[in-house]
């Protein structure tokens, strides 16, 4: 078994072609070539930190403002989940709770763990960390559900003076959280998981 790095190659992230590592563009498709994503861990942690900071306004500000028969209520993400539970819509409450709370926080924790482990001398087995990375990458965009719910409600519920829904400041903040965590996951180079393993990983 030999890796691209060990044989002086850099694998193109777009077409998987292993070009000579000394070249700056992929021989097949011309994409920029890096043996490893430059400053991968620093970039991942910086973007993750940005997402964590933005997560505060995303939860403190209202995500939407509802007026019904002249009464105005501001809903935060958590407030919306509580109201859904009170109304007995448990499946929808679960979808919002998972998409808006568990996924973004879990994703930030997973990325922090992956960055930390990549620097350890005896890290956890690579297959487990690769699995964690894959889950993190896969679930990322699903956090956007609540933002799209706001989009649909704002578009639909504009019925004269009877019922109206307006978007709140948390919608943009939360969309920012999702985009930043997606960029953070994209900046993490999963090859770093295997680099310290070399041949051992093959028999893992």
């Amino acid at each position: 078994m030999t890796t691209a790095l060990a044989s002086g190659r850099a694998v193109c992230h777009v077409c998987l072609h292993p070009s000579p590592a000394s070249e700056s563009a992929c021989r097949r498709c011309g994409s920029t070539l890096h043996a490893r994503i430059p400053h991968s861990l620093q970039r991942t942690m910086a973007l993750g930190l940005g997402a964590a900071l933005l997560y505060l306004p995303a939860n403190l500000l209202p995500i939407m403002v509802t007026s019904q028969f002249g009464r105005t209520t501001e809903n935060t993400i958590i407030g919306g989940v509580v109201r859904l539970i009170e109304a007995g819509s448990y499946p929808v409450a679960a979808v919002i709770l998972i998409a808006s709370v568990l996924i973004p926080l879990g994703k930030l924790a997973a990325l922090a763990l992956l960055c930390w482990a990549a620097r350890q001398r005896r890290p956890a087995p690579p297959r487990q960390r690769t699995a964690l990375y894959r889950v993190t990458e896969f679930v990322g965009k699903w956090s956007m559900v609540d933002v799209f719910v706001v989009a649909v409600l704002v578009g639909l519920v504009q019925i004269g003076g009877i019922m109206q829904v307006k978007p709140g400041g948390a919608a943009l903040a939360f969309a920012g959280v999702v985009v930043l965590t997606m960029l953070a996951a994209e900046s993490f180079d999963p090859r770093l998981i295997w680099d310290r393993y070399g041949r051992e990983g093959a028999r893992d």
Binding site: H17, R28, P126, T130, A151, L156, P167, P190
Partner: protein, 217 residues
């Protein structure tokens, strides 16, 4: 499982069937002769190729269908709501317009991009790419097109929006009566055909076809 290779590949880039695993950097020999033969990395299990349809007929047909559904999804009412004798129906563009009208410009732009522009651009890209590959034309557009397509893939949120719409329906159903319109069903059909088109279009199969065309005189 594919054989990992023991020797560094020969320097001629002609060793086209050797690819590098994106997730663990292992060099792997992948034969693409047999269709419908998936290949995984022997070390980390990454899906290297799905080697599905090297005639590109299926992704072409699915992407074309997706584009037709997309046209329907933006032309007809998406949802209609009625409460206390008053009724309101919205189209997809009107919903995005309302976001902007209430000052949520950023959310409006993000929704427009993730839900419509990126997925529709990708389907146009699939149609164009499949046509060029099937016509065996070594067009200069081939490489930029394929590159753009596989890079945008992570940023399409058609499926997420479809779930968001269903959640909205459930949320509203206690307050008002909601009637899904033609565009709602069209968008669901768009999401399904979009996802199928992208799974039937295999990255390595595309790049091998591109290589073949460029090598031909």
């Amino acid at each position: 499982m594919q054989p990992a290779i023991d020797q560094p590949p020969p320097d001629s880039a002609a060793a086209q069937d050797i690819v590098g695993c994106l997730e663990c950097d292992l060099l792997v020999r992948v034969g693409l002769q047999r269709a419908s033969h998936a290949a995984y990395c022997p070390r980390c299990g990454y899906l290297l190729t799905d080697a599905t349809d090297d005639t590109f007929v299926q992704p072409f047909a699915l992407a074309l269908a997706a584009l037709i559904f997309a046209v329907l999804a933006v032309s007809f009412p998406f949802l209609a709501v009625s409460a206390a004798g008053l009724e309101n129906s919205m189209t997809l563009f009107a919903a995005i317009g309302s976001l902007a009208r209430f000052g949520a410009d950023g959310v409006a732009v993000a929704t427009l991009a993730f839900v419509l522009l990126i997925p529709v651009a990708m389907m146009l890209g699939v149609v164009a790419l499949c046509l060029l590959l099937r016509a065996e034309r070594a067009s200069p557009a081939l490489v930029p097109l394929a590159r753009l397509l596989f890079r945008l893939n992570a940023w399409s949120m058609a499926d997420v929006f479809a779930i968001g719409v269903i959640v909205s329906l459930v949320k509203l159903s206690s307050m008002a009566e909601i009637v899904p319109g033609t565009a709602f069903w069209a968008y669901i059909a768009f999401t399904v055909t979009f996802l199928l088109a992208m799974t039937r279009l295999d990255r390595l199969t595309v790049w091998h076809a591109v290589d073949r065309l460029r090598a031909a005189p």
